[in-house]
Amino acid sequence: MKRRLAVLALVLVALLIPAVVDRGGTTAHAVQFGEMLHEPLPFGRVSERISSTWFCPALPARTGEKGTVRVLNPGIGDLTGTVTIWENERPEPTKVAITVPAGSSKLVDVSAANPGDVNAAMVEMIGGEVYVESTVKVGASTVAASCASSVASTWSFAEGSTDLNTTYRLAIFNPLPGDTVVDVDTITDDDGFTAGGAGKGVVVEGQSLRVINVNEQARRAGRVSLTVRSRGGNVVVGRLLTLNTSARQGLIAGVATAGDSSSLWWAGGDIATGASEQVLVMNANEDRAELDLSIYPATPPSDPATQLVRQVSVPPQSVVSVDISGIAGLPAGAHSLELESTNGVPVVAERVIDEKTKTARRISAVAGSPVVAQRWYLVEGAATTPASAVADEEVAVMNPTSTPVKVSVRQVVPGGSRVLSEVDVAPGVPARIKLSGVSATEVVSLFIRADTPIVVERRRLTTNAPWSLAIPVL
């Protein structure tokens, strides 16, 4: 009997132990390999890469227009690479070999290298850590914005217009070898959501640029939000939007937002005379998005009843505009914004600031940053005005954490970086850092570093360059 019990015990133990261990769960785990490539925003990498590829999809090259790209090499070794330039619907690209010395940047005048209509550039650098921004100049307006660090299948712009005296060129850049087909869905005030409203089944051949004149597709729409969806392949989408209406004037250019997000931050923004500020929230999903828009002014409002948190409800496939400058009681001066989805439905949002100053009229549309980071780069950096030797750049910093943070703004120099300014930024309080002590003859690429994650924007003070988001390093 003892032996019988012993054998039965063996069987029992052999089955029970696994059963007990199995209670911990045997659910499938997702395979961990690599990282998802598509981020909503361009980003850099801390680690040194084998190669870096950046995509600048919308660089104008007509007469009176100029498109350049600047490649920053903040590392300690010289980097070589190639800038390949495609013109709208022309298969043969132009290649420009470049070498970027360590701790400096290199400007490539794309419109000079390949005159024509609109160009797209693919910057490939071998090794190192590389950041690329493009500068678009149309007439008197200049916009600097980061290029895309990846391709994606879905891109969105919340802001846009095909109103009278407005030109909206949508650049769809397919840098990959395979052909793809894209649909451009639109949301307008008059027609609402229209699938393929600005182009349906548009073939974009491999390694080519296709520019769509949105004015011809969605005529006379005061506001056109659009989403570009690629069927299968991946593309990069940019826009060239020139506004010359009585209400709005200026240039909006840059890369679209890839995908949507549940949390967005803007470091910049002002309540000033002659300036209007709106947040356009675009919900391309099938569900209604419920969001909280929080405003963090530099100085507290005098009226405690001032509404600093606005509930925003965005129906499916629609766009809602929130007028920030119209909020009663909001004190003048700097502020930051935070948009958070309360029901988890992600959105695309842009903050549009229309400024009318004594010297110029400018407009900016900046997509919210879906990420916070401790390191940010501004490639085009602070150009100085020779006359005053005062840097014309203002860096806006938002501290979304609950603790103060020390932020240093540094100039990228060979062998590392030089501190230009260091400030402490309180939680929820926007900071503005004006640069000083910068050489009058050079274009200074900036490196912003903080103890804890922050959000960084910049704007030029003396030129017509509007707000733009820095490039985070993940």
């Binding site: 032996r3 019988r4 012993a6 054998v7 039965l8 063996l10 069987v11 133990v13 052999a14 089955l15 132990i17 696994p18 059963a19 261990v21 199995d22 045997t26 659910t27 499938a28 785990h29 997702a30 395979v31 961990q32 390999f33 690599g34 990282e35 998802m36 490539l37 598509h38 990498r45 680690s47 890469r49 084998i50 190669s51 590829t53 070589t80 693919m122 490939e124 071998i126 090794g127 990846s150 391709v151 840098p175 990959l176 070898p177 395979g178 491999g206 299968g232 392949g233 991946n234």
Partner: protein, 1078 residues
């Protein structure tokens, strides 16, 4: 005795006879006896004397002498001085020699063909001739009597059934009491003596010379029937027949010729329409015959029949020509001939009549003898149950595999494709160069050789061989479990043997009294074997193993019962002790052979056996039986060592210092997380998740554990230990990141334990429960039986699919358009994805993610054992990781030197239209690939993400200056990305039948070969020495002309293989020396 050259005519020709002249003026018809003589025995003078004594008045004698050493001429001359002797060199066969009579003889009315071991009665020829005239017979034959006992009948003519099976009209050893003395029509007159009308013989074209010996009588008589001739037996004419043909030419030769010639005659003489129904009938009879032979434990009996079919398949042309000849001589409708034959498949009735003891040499009796044993068993019910059980499982196997047998076995999982040229696998084994991956120099796996031999031996294309391989493994496993449980059947009295206490000394004392009194019991059905077979075949594990296309587990499935049988014998548990007690050496070698075969496919084979031994030892200890421990450990331990040694030097590579676990274990599919012990107990490890009933299969073993006594309990304890240990191992490998083979491999041994455990339960019920007073044990027994039956339901349900849930197609056709692009240069394909979707064995890329490389688009045997990744192959993995972590968007350029043209990520293991289960690769991987600037998507099937490398270099190509310059730099990613890789013109296409060879003209300049050095050479006029390219590949300067890439045969490797083969042979020889231990 004098010898004479061929063609010598020793005496006068037929027109100048001396004493035995044909007298044209005689009223008696001229008869010539024709005797083919070949090395006759001491009986021959008596044969001659009998001929000399014939009283037919117009008789001459012709001897065709085909003797090998000494001629019988002197004896003939002494006794029949007027005879003609024709000396013939060589042995073209009886028929050809007999046909000489037609050319040598003129004026004969009858030929009397006699064997050289027949002594005719003095009036035999005369009586035959008289009856032939009287009855207008075409062929007539005498009553044949036993040579030594002339009062015993041997044959009075033969009948046949429609399958050509001869039916004797007399019983073996039947006394001649004139009971068969009426003249009557028969279908066949046996070839011992045949009186044939000369004109008919000429019309028939004589004997069919392809029917050289044995069966020529049937063929001639059948054709005589076709021509409208009568065939008579004339019992008044008598002859004694020595009939020891098998002693003269061998039993095997007789049986083989009989089977072949019978089939040949049936197929050539049967009419077209009847043949349509007859051929399936013949096939069915053959299957039954094979089955019967296997069940009788004498599978060799079926060999002649199988070979006969093989011969027929190979000689369809000659059969077609014979049918054409027979069509010309046919004067009688087929139905009339059919009416002369016996009804039904008379073979069974003939077998029933045969009560031979297997000693008879008669070809009818010799085959029927064993068959009659089976028939007797059928009557008794023992074989009925066995045959029924086997018919059920075989039918289920055929039904369950019907779409594979009659359709396609897809290249999925480990069911990879063989090479297109038979024998190339065997030949590759003698080299050290494995073209798998990027190419490695290593000892090739022994399995390569075995699969190569299997491919070469099995008829049909490589695809057919793969199906046969799968089915053969399954059936070997079933035969193994049947044999394994046989001692239990004997212990339960299932064989009906005379049982005596002495046979069971020491293990069944408590039953001694009953045993002693039992002298002969009526045979009972082999219930333990049937139960074991049912559980082993019916447990859902087999269906899931097949569904997972797990070749390794199938090999273990086939081998496990045989392993267990040897180990249980060694442990001397219960009835296994009564099995033939072999010497330790024989047991070790037998086990070593099986372990060697298993290890050739499953590298951990020796470890598996050691664990099995340990588990059995644990069971022995728990079961209170320590006596067999030492022997068990000795046999198991040494057997494992022998098995490992037989697989050297391959195992050095597998377990060597640079080995990777991927050779031993598998990359765990992401789609198969830890299933949990309950799922494993249900054997839910594949496409058949059929719920809880399979859990009930444990009931039999549990019942045995609860009620069994004595040796039965010990055996149950051993089996329970085996089940527990292998369940836990399977669970560990499945639950944790333990690099072990798939759980099916271990669960197979657990199923074996359950199956044999249920078998023990049957014996325990019969011996420990039956006859005892009523208690809980009786209801428990019925509950266990019910549980086992219910537990088999999932396995039976799995049969319905017809292909074990394997997809109905693979990617071969889908990717054919890519494969066809080899005219642009040969290339490799990088496969990435869930290992469940990748054929062959994957290398590890990440947890749940594997990768492999193929030359071309199809996985082959080389992908079953890809070896450990080399440094070059690691570069591929590194490149993929760089792309996956967004370190580069030029993956194509990094893969270009390896000639990787396509990167393919399957998300199913078969095309989407097959509905195969989805196993998506991580989006991070697919998106990384889709975002590469030099990978272009190719749309073929939604189940495949195919990215074409726009930067690829052909496997063999010319080298331009830029490529040459780039190749001089190291092949690290940074150098590659900054290099200009311009592909040259493809050269030297790879041999379609042997991927190790390539030949073709090359222009003057340099040639790039994307292969690391070693194991091959490039030869041809003006080929310079090898230079490294990219640090690992090869480039050669050439002056132009035809060059060849060939594997290099290393004498050392050949010597090693020869030694290995000798080792296999030596172990096999030692294993076959089955002397019984004293």
């Amino acid at each position: 005795m004098a010898d004479y050259p061929a063609g010598t005519v020793l005496t006068s020709t037929m027109d100048a006879p001396a004493d035995s002249t044909l007298d044209p003026t005689s009223e008696a018809p001229a008869v010539v006896t024709v005797m083919v003589v070949r090395d006759p025995g001491p009986w021959f003078p008596e044969v001659l004397d009998a001929l000399a004594a014939q009283d037919h008045p117009n008789l001459a004698h012709l001897f065709v002498d085909a003797s090998t050493t000494t001629g019988p001429t002197e004896a003939i001359a002494a006794r029949l001085p007027g005879s003609v002797v024709r000396r013939v060199e060589g042995n073209p066969g009886f028929s050809a020699l007999a046909n000489l009579a037609m050319s040598l003889v003129e004026g004969a009315v009858f030929f009397c063909f006699c064997h050289d071991d027949v002594a005719l009665a003095s009036d035999a020829v005369r009586l035959l001739v008289e009856e032939a005239y009287r009855s207008n017979a075409a062929i007539a034959g005498p009553k044949l009597l036993d040579w030594e006992r002339p009062n015993h009948l041997m044959s009075v003519g033969l009948s046949v059934d429609r399958t050509g099976w001869p039916i004797a009209t007399v019983e073996p050893g039947e006394l001649d009491q004139e009971q068969h003395d009426a003249v009557r029509d028969v279908f066949v007159v046996p070839g011992g003596v045949q009186l044939v009308r000369a004109d008919l013989l000429t019309a028939l074209g004589g004997f069919d010379e392809s029917v050289d010996l044995v069966g020529e009588d049937l063929d001639l008589c059948w054709r005589a029937h076709l021509a409208g001739g009568r065939v008579l037996v004339v019992p008044a004419a008598r002859a004694r027949h020595w009939q020891r043909l098998s002693e003269r030419v061998g039993v095997g030769a007789v049986e083989e010729r009989a089977a072949r010639h019978r089939l040949q005659t049936v197929l050539s003489c049967t009419g077209h329409w009847r043949l349509l129904t007859l051929v399936p009938e013949l096939v069915a009879v053959t299957v039954l015959e094979v089955l019967g032979a296997v069940l009788a434990g004498k599978p060799k009996r079926a060999v002649p029949t199988i070979r006969a079919w093989g011969w027929v398949v190979r000689h369809l042309g000659s059969i077609r020509r014979a049918r054409a000849r027979n069509a010309h001589i046919r004067r009688v409708p087929d139905r009339e001939v059919r009416n002369l034959q016996a009804n039904g498949v008379a073979r069974l009735r003939a077998a029933l009549r045969e009560h031979g003891d297997g000693q008879r040499d008669d070809r009818v009796g010799s085959v029927a003898a064993w068959f009659s044993g089976g028939i007797e068993s059928l009557r008794s019910g023992r074989r009925t149950a066995s045959i029924a059980a086997w018919l059920v499982v075989l039918t289920l196997l055929v039904v369950g595999s019907r779409r594979l047998i009659f359709g396609q076995l897809p290249v999925v999982g480990q069911f990879v494709g063989f090479t297109t040229r038979a024998g190339s696998l065997v030949s590759s084994y003698f080299g050290r160069w494995d073209v798998g991956g990027i190419g490695q120099v290593r000892a090739l796996p022994t399995g390569t050789m075995i699969l190569g031999l299997f491919d070469a031996v099995v008829p049909g294309s490589g695809d057919a061989a793969r199906v046969w391989l799968v089915l053969t493994l399954v059936i070997i496993g079933w035969i193994g479990i049947w044999r394994l449980a046989a001692p239990l059947t004997r212990a339960s009295g299932g064989r009906g043997r005379r049982r005596h206490r002495d046979n069971y000394v020491g293990w069944d004392d408590e039953d001694g009294g009953a045993m002693e009194s039992a002298t002969w019991e009526r045979p009972r059905a082999p219930r333990p074997q049937i139960v074991a077979l049912a559980l082993y075949a019916g447990a859902p594990l087999l269906a899931n193993t097949l569904g997972n296309a797990n070749l390794q587990a199938l090999v273990v499935y086939a081998a496990a019962p045989w392993l267990a049988r040897i180990l249980l014998r060694a442990a001397a548990i219960g009835p296994f002790r009564a099995e033939r007690a072999l010497t330790l050496r024989s047991q070790v070698c037998t086990l070593g052979l099986i372990v060697g075969l298993v290890t050739a496919f499953v590298p951990i084979g020796p470890l598996l056996v050691l664990v099995l031994v340990a588990a059995m030892a644990l069971g022995l200890v728990l079961g209170g039986e320590r006596e067999g421990l030492a022997a068990l450990a000795q046999v198991g331990g040494f057997g494992a060592v022998v098995g490992a040694v037989l697989n050297l030097p391959w195992l050095f590579d597998v377990f060597g210092p640079n080995a990777s676990w991927s050779q031993i274990g598998t990359v765990k599919p992401a789609s198969a997380p830890g299933r949990g012990i309950v799922a494993l107990l249900r054997f839910d490890v594949g496409p058949f998740g059929l719920g809880w009933p399979a859990l009930l299969l444990m009931a039999g073993l549990l019942f045995a554990l609860l009620v069994a006594r004595q040796w039965r309990f010990t055996l149950a304890a051993v089996l329970a230990s085996v089940v527990a240990v292998f369940m836990v191992i399977a669970w560990s490998g499945d639950r944790f990141a333990v690099p072990l083979p798939p759980p099916e491999v271990f669960l197979t041994l657990a199923v074996l334990g359950l199956a044999l455990g249920a078998s023990v339960a049957v014996v325990a019920f019969e011996q420990d429960v039956t006859g005892s007073s009523f208690s809980l044990r009786q209801p428990l027994a019925f509950a266990a039986l019910a549980c086992c039956l219910i537990g088999l339901v999932p396995g039976v349900i799995a049969v319905g699919n017809g292909r074990w849930q394997l997809p109905k197609a693979d990617f071969t056709q889908t990717l054919q358009s890519l494969q066809n692009r080899t005219n642009e240069g040969d290339f490799r394909v990088l496969w990435l994805g869930d290992p469940a979707t990748l054929p062959g064995t994957s290398w590890w890329l990440a947890d749940g993610l594997g990768w492999s490389l193929t030359q071309g688009t199809t996985h082959s045997v080389t992908n079953l054992w890809p070896g450990s990744p080399t440094a070059v192959e690691d570069q591929v993995r590194l490149a993929v990781n760089l792309a996956g972590t967004q370190q580069t968007q030029r993956l194509g350029q990094l893969l270009a030197p390896m000639a990787i043209r396509y990167v393919i990520v399957p998300n199913r293991r078969a095309p989407s239209y097959t509905g195969a289960e989805l196993h998506p690769a991580p989006a991070s991987l697919t998106e990384a690939l889709r975002s590469q600037a030099d990978l272009s998507p190719v749309e073929l099937d939604s189940a495949l993400l195919i990215m074409e490398n726009t930067s690829w270099l052909p496997l063999h190509s010319t080298m331009g200056d830029s490529l040459h310059t780039a190749a001089t730099r190291p092949g690290d990613p940074r150098s590659l990305l900054s290099s200009q890789l311009t592909a040259g013109q493809p050269v030297m296409p790879v041999d379609s039948g042997d991927p190790r060879k390539a030949t073709g003209p090359v222009p003057a300049g340099r040639v790039y070969v994307a292969r690391p050095p070693g194991g091959w050479e490039l030869s041809g006029p003006g080929v310079g020495p090898r230079q490294a390219a990219f640090g690992w590949a090869s480039s050669f300067a050439t002056t132009g002309g035809k060059v060849s890439l060939r594997p290099v045969r290393s004498p050392i490797r050949i010597a090693v293989v020869v030694v290995q083969l000798l080792a296999w042979g030596a172990v096999l020889g030692l294993a076959r020396q089955r002397e019984v231990e004293s």
